[in-house]
Amino acid sequence: MSSQELKIVFTGPMGAGKTTAIRAISDAPPVSTEVGNHDQKTFAKESTTVALDYGEVSLENGTSLRLYGTPGQGRFSFMWEIIGRGALGVVLLLDASSATALKDLDTFVTTFRRTTPDQAFVVGVGRLPPEHGSRLDDFSRALAATGVVAPVFAVDVREREDVLLLIETLLCILETQMPEAEYASA
């Protein structure tokens, strides 16, 4: 694989760990648009992203990744489309402890598929219970129901290795999906 620069999007609902994931792997401190969260009923955390996160990571093979994170709340869905444009791959992060996790999967997959049908997908599910095999299968089934074929992983986005696994899987998918010349010039 030759040296190249690729745009990857991290998306998913509020509290799924998009900002944390980008922070875990970015070579330099990411650009952040976090502000105070005044919607504690939806998710009890202090801050929330309202525009985007932006980080960069250089892989050993010379590939440079530009990492964009979206806001999670539906009222910022206009940013999903703006940020999604031109991205070759999408990392969808989900929170298994959320009652709306499977619905969230459908919402984000449907939105990104509608705006950019050819994007490669990989799904990372966090906050799974200790014996999570069957729970992870629920996400695989829900994903299959959307018609999207993509790997689903249990992840802890605070762990750099977990996030890099998602990225490397995405790059493998891209490599198999695209003709070599097109991939190299992307």
């Binding site: 005044h38 929330t48 309202v50 525009a51 009222r75 206009f78």
Partner: protein
Amino acid sequence: MHPPDARFGTEVAGRAQAHLEELGATNKGISLAVLTSEDGFEIAAYRGAETSGRIAAMSSSLQALSEAISREAGLASSQGLIIESENGKIIVLGVASTAPRVSLAVVAGLNETLGTLLWAARNCCKSLEQALRK
């Protein structure tokens, strides 16, 4: 979308609404003014319409981006931004020292000059700051 006053209380929303009405009454070219919490919720709106909730969320994103690019460029904290389009202009200004942090988005047609609009919006922000002070 939550109603404008549901999250921040009717008293805060009422005080903010009065200042937005005054801004609109003295500047006839203003077609919309929205006061928005830093995380994108509409608190009050002058000539609020179906789109005001969406404009509110967008203005909070823009304000956050203007602050991020100011930081990245090594400048002091962003006070706001100006968007000039073919048919009018939009100003988004941060309102200092309020809890929650808020921003004001003002939309106006071509008949309102940029200088007048900016002056009026900044004065409105000062009034809002007094009214919503922490």
